[in-house]
Symmetry: C3
Subunit: 192 residues, 3 copies
């Protein structure tokens, strides 16, 4: 095509042309870098069931511990788990799991419930033997220390009429846009 | 190594060599661009519980409103929420949430149910005061207007024997491959 | 700025300078390549409800079938679905779904339960007519054949006191770090 070609048949590029192409590549690389997700994990905590809230905090603190920025967006029933006067307060992890498991286990897990009558007893023994498990409150404190961002869903608060004074301290307030803003730059997003 | 080296000790590259390396870089950049996720959000709506279906539509319409392509894949119980003769039809958002909350709340939320007896009353007052909340049907219309893709799971339809005429209009049909095809190029995927 | 400039006003770059800039670009591209997610899907199977465990295996085997590396992390109730003496064993898919649907359906889906009394009957007919649906056990075998990694949550095993001999074969053991290690390099992560 060009009158000046190299032995390989490729057109001979001037240094200026190379620099120009080069700068286009640089721009494409900068754009790629711009759209990469952060080291970030975003969780919607929709459920107010203790076992799911616990799972959320295990994942949140685990992720923060390996250097991820973590956002937890509490909505619907999840939000109510953060109420100050929650029945969850004042019990340790295993006591709460017992509470979850006895009435909740049978109502929620009808397929496998027969297996769980045995689990309750094992857990009770475990509970008595092992006082070393972190409570939900301890896990929430740990989450805060690790810089986990906890956001209370505005719409849920509005619909349920939950005031600031009813919620535990240290919560931010935000809507679905707040969740999406974090989630769309996250490597892992989960709805719990 | 090379007999012709610059003062810095780096082998002197010919323009042709540079162009060759350059084109390899261009290919690597093009490949990176190719594998980047779209501005896309994919949701599996597995649950048929009204509160979860509502949460799905809040996230879907919120994501579409900020420019994301959104796919909702309705499967198992989620599919049944889209049946025309659904008990969900003909009620507004808060009426439905009341419905969800009274029988469902006690069955599903045994840990925190005590807190919810109070919420029901607050919500009733709210409901009477505030007629401004979008109903599920309005949110589905909004989702359609915003171009949200709604896919009915073929396997679930087959197993449950749900015909075209039983489902609301505007649904596509697809299998798990359809969900994965969208999800694997999404920035956020959630199982609701 | 430079005394030697081209006609376009761009400083005249020497080949050495180009090579230097070039190598910086190469490093940035290598870093981008390094942080890209794998062709990978990670699932937390938290629920022990048969319908959700089935959904998890449909997604897992579907993803493996289209070439994704798949990890399933079984925790809390999800882990119990993998117990050898599970009530889930020895039934086919539809028998199990019937089991899920009759007691569980009414307990879990109070909003739409009226619609489901009809579904039960349809499903029974379907079940009698169609013996061609894969059972959970068949899907687990398929998952293993497709190389799906199944991890049993150590903490759940510990809390519930579940020994190796109580679990089906072919499970790995790991904590939340194991899940996050996979999930943070996945294109899709779901909490089921």
């Amino acid at each position: 095509m060009s009158e000046s070609q190299t032995a390989t048949g490729r057109p001979k590029a001037s240094v200026e042309e190379i620099v120009e192409r080069f700068e286009k590549l640089e721009a494409r690389i900068a754009e790629l870098e711009e759209i990469q997700p952060d080291d970030r994990v975003s969780l919607v905590v929709f459920s107010g069931e203790l076992d799911k809230v616990l799972a959320a905090f295990v994942i949140a603190t685990g992720a923060a511990a390996v250097g991820q920025e973590v956002s937890m967006f509490f909505t619907f029933w999840g939000l109510s788990a953060l109420k100050k006067d929650s029945k969850l307060a004042g019990k340790n992890l295993l006591e709460k799991m017992m509470g979850v498991m006895s009435p909740a286990g049978t109502a929620q897990l009808p397929v496998s419930k027969m297996n769980y009558f045995g689990v309750g007893a094992k857990m009770l023994r475990k509970m008595m033997k092992d006082k070393n498990v972190a409570s939900l409150e301890e896990m929430m404190d740990l989450a805060r220390e690790l810089g986990v961002k906890m956001v209370a869903c505005e719409m849920s608060r509005d619909v349920m009429g939950i005031g600031d004074d009813e919620l535990i301290d240290g919560l931010e307030s935000g809507g679905v846009g707040s969740f999406l803003g974090d989630s769309l730059r996250s490597k892992t997003s989960l709805f719990i």
